[in-house]
């Protein structure tokens, strides 16, 4: 064939540090300290516990449509843990709760958002995150612009932007990667390949054997990592963050993981998920894997697990109390943050809505 660029027949094997049984691969040195691993595990467990809670709140009608993280905790926590929340930024899609928490977002704020209260949209000052993005891939150009701005102002900060395998088919992905390559912007593209975009399986999303194979087309490296492996994700992301911080430009990380539940609370995956595929992923659970790893090294036990679970459940309840104590939504909230100074036309509309005179 007359062609210099021929696609690989199969995807390269993802970088792995921890085997499914928790054993550390030979010859690798983890980039996380034991304390960091324990902190990561705690955050993963919090997320998992919150998923269950959110699901039940949604069923009771007290929570809006919500997408669980279940199965993808290592991917999000391992990558976000490679950041310095004081100077680095997280630009999320919508399935990255633990990354937001690690950056400093109060859980109660996240809850308020999903309770449909605009107060939950208020990102506290000094929490370096962008709002949850519902318009798929729209956050990727924004992340590149943010990274570029940090670069121009020489803050030393790095941006990590999350998006799904589905979102990676949008034009915004391409435009953003290409610009980032040209600018050598300090950004890490974190592609969470969880096998699905609602009902669309990964193989119908793209004929590329590996989505990370796109990176050279933008002039920067692409990595495929085992997304259910906290240590591998952290190592790969840390390296990408270090490169970005050093001015060496972006990296595309394809984190291969699996969405273990429905797309969101409105979805019925039994219509399309093949049970055998789901079953094959069950033993690869990212939380159990870290627990096995730590247990084998004497750093974790069932007792500890129960203590932590109790703590987390209390934490969630506390956050829920805070969220519920927030003032209820009001009509005036509609108008408060549309413009810095509401123009006369808007003041009139506001007055009419509130039943008062402008």
């Amino acid at each position: 064939m007359l062609a210099q660029f021929v696609p690989d027949g199969t995807a390269p094997s993802p970088i792995q540090y921890l085997a499914a049984d928790g054993a550390l691969a030979e010859g690798v040195t983890p980039s996380m300290s034991d304390d960091e691993v324990r902190a990561g595990l705690r955050l993963m467990m919090l997320t998992r516990a919150f998923d269950t809670k959110a699901m039940s709140l949604q069923r009771q009608g007290r929570f809006g449509t919500f997408s669980q993280v279940t199965g993808q905790e290592a991917s999000i926590v391992g990558s976000a843990s490679a950041l310095d929340p004081r100077i680095d930024w997280v630009v999320p899609q919508y399935r990255e709760l633990p990354a937001l928490l690690r950056q400093g977002l109060p859980l109660s704020s996240f809850m308020l958002y999903f309770m449909g209260n605009l107060a939950g949209s208020r990102i506290p000052d000094n929490v370096n995150i962008l709002p949850i993005q519902i318009s798929l891939a729209a956050q990727i150009p924004q992340a590149v612009g943010l990274a570029w701005g940090l670069q121009l102002q020489q803050t030393g900060g790095v941006v990590i932007v999350y998006f799904g395998d589905g979102a990676s088919s949008e034009g915004d992905f391409h435009e953003a990667c290409n610009l980032a390559g040209v600018l050598k912007a300090p950004v890490v593209f974190m592609l969470s390949n969880n096998g699905w975009a609602i009902s669309t399986p990964r193989h119908k999303q793209s004929a590329a054997t590996s989505l990370a194979a796109r990176a050279p087309g933008y002039g920067f490296p692409g990595v495929v990592v085992d997304g259910n492996d906290l240590l591998a994700v952290h190592a790969v992301t840390s390296e990408a963050v270090a490169r970005a911080r050093a001015g060496e430009g972006p990296t595309l990380i394809e984190s291969v993981t699996y969405r273990m539940g429905p797309h969101n609370t409105a979805d019925d995956p039994t219509r399309y998920v093949v049970a055998s595929e789901l079953d094959a992923w069950k033993p690869l659970d990212p939380i159990a894997r870290v627990q096995r790893h730590l247990t084998a090294r004497g750093l974790w036990s069932d007792d500890q697990c129960q203590v932590v679970e109790a703590e987390l459940s209390a934490e969630i309840e506390e956050a829920l109390v805070v969220a519920r104590a927030a003032p209820p939504p009001s009509a005036s909230q509609l108008f408060d943050h549309v413009y810095a100074d509401a123009p006369a036309t808007m003041l009139r509309q506001r007055a009419a809505r509130l039943g008062v005179t402008a």
Binding site: G64, T65, Y94, Y113, M115, G116, N117, L118, G120, S121, I132, I134, S135, L136, G166, A167, S169, E170, G171, D172, A197, I198, S199, T200, K204, Q205, S206, A266, D267, R271, Y272, P328, P329, S330, A331, Q333, L334, F335, V338, T345, M346, Q349, R350, R353
Partner: protein, 339 residues
């Protein structure tokens, strides 16, 4: 329920259907009738669409005619242009109208203009289906009513049914229309609104409005989900305020039934327009502008617009303050009556 599917091609038989069932029925019928029709979009195949509008189509018509595309609205619509050039009749789905923005360049500048740009060589018999509008606490950007900007796009037809009968009959008319049609489906009506629908083939012509309630004091003009709201408001107005409301369902924004509009206005001389989209440059603006021009001397009072305010669509908790409610329509009418 007066018929079974055995009599599916006898229009005289009807069945009670929700809007979503009526839409699915139209798609099924037309795909069976015309093998050039193909359905494409995100999750339209195996899943049958996030609202099940295309449920069963892939099983029946195969993976070649009902295609789960990658997640990219621009190419869903752009590919539809090419499919049309090749001689097929594409019925792409935008999962929510909010994501039509990603395909805006393909819709506004390509689909709508291709006949013109090729001076008739390449017609575009494309029907873009999309749910829109709010009231059901969806996540951000899933509820916006962006219809008006598509009406500022010459070459495109923009229609939206308010009930199950129209949903089926208008969708059949849209797919068979030689020109591109943006077919907007009122999300909150999908399962809530139902009615008697012929099981066979029929069309509701595009471009004709429909008087859904006769009245003498005030004319309510609406389309899509707002029609049901106006009907309910008309009930309240009649029982609580002794006001008799005439209600016009536009059905089609482009082409606009100016005659029907003027007739409805002339009936009462007082007009209240209702839509979910924000006020400024919402489609109510065009309606008011047209009415004041074509029925100036019939107007007894200024035309009122009952709409969302000029703010972004908010999160669910604030939704009812944003989307016009029955009480807002009643208030708008009372304003028009008091003048």
């Amino acid at each position: 329920m007066t018929a079974t599917t055995n009599h599916a091609d006898t229009p005289a038989f009807t069945e009670t259907m929700t809007m979503i069932e009526a839409i699915r029925d139209a798609l099924t019928l037309e795909m069976a009738r015309d093998e050039r029709v193909v359905v494409l979009g995100e999750d339209v195949g195996v899943l049958g669409g996030v609202f099940r509008a295309t449920d069963g189509l892939q099983q029946r018509f195969g993976e070649r005619r009902v295609i789960d595309t990658p997640l990219a609205e621009g190419v869903i619509i752009g590919a539809a242009v090419g499919l049309a050039v090749s001689g097929l009749i594409p019925v792409p789905e935008l999962q929510f109208l909010g994501f039509g923005h990603q395909a805006f360049h393909q819709i506004g500048q390509q689909v709508a203009r291709f006949r013109f740009r090729s001076q008739g060589r390449h017609p575009m018999p494309i029907t873009i289906r999309s749910p829109f509008g709010g009231g059901v606490r969806t996540p951000e950007l899933h509820s916006d009513a962006f219809e008006a900007m598509y009406t500022n796009t010459p070459g495109l037809k923009v229609v939206t049914p308010a009930d199950a009968y129209d949903a089926k009959g208008m969708l059949l008319a849209a797919i068979r229309d030689p020109d591109p049609v943006l077919f907007l489906e009122p999300l909150r009506g999908y399962r809530l609104v139902s009615g008697e629908v012929p099981t066979g083939d029929y069309m509701v012509p595009l471009g004709r409005s429909n008087v859904v309630r006769e009245g003498d004091d005030v004319t309510l003009i609406a389309y899509s989900a707002a029609v049901q709201m106006c009907m309910k408001a008309a009930g309240v107005l009649s029982s609580e305020h002794g006001v008799s409301a005439h209600v016009l369902d536009l059905r089609s924004l482009v082409p606009l039934d100016v005659e029907g509009l003027v007739a409805a206005v002339e009936r009462t001389g007082r007009v209240v327009i209702v839509h979910e989209a924000p006020l400024t440059s919402g489609f109510g603006a065009e309606l008011a502008a047209t009415i004041q021009r074509e029925a100036f001397y019939s107007l007894q009072v200024p035309i009122e617009r009952v709409t969302a305010p000029d703010t972004p669509y908010p999160l669910g908790g604030t939704e009812d303050f944003y989307v016009p409610q029955i009480s807002d329509v009643v208030r708008g009418v009372l304003t028009a009556m008091e003048r």
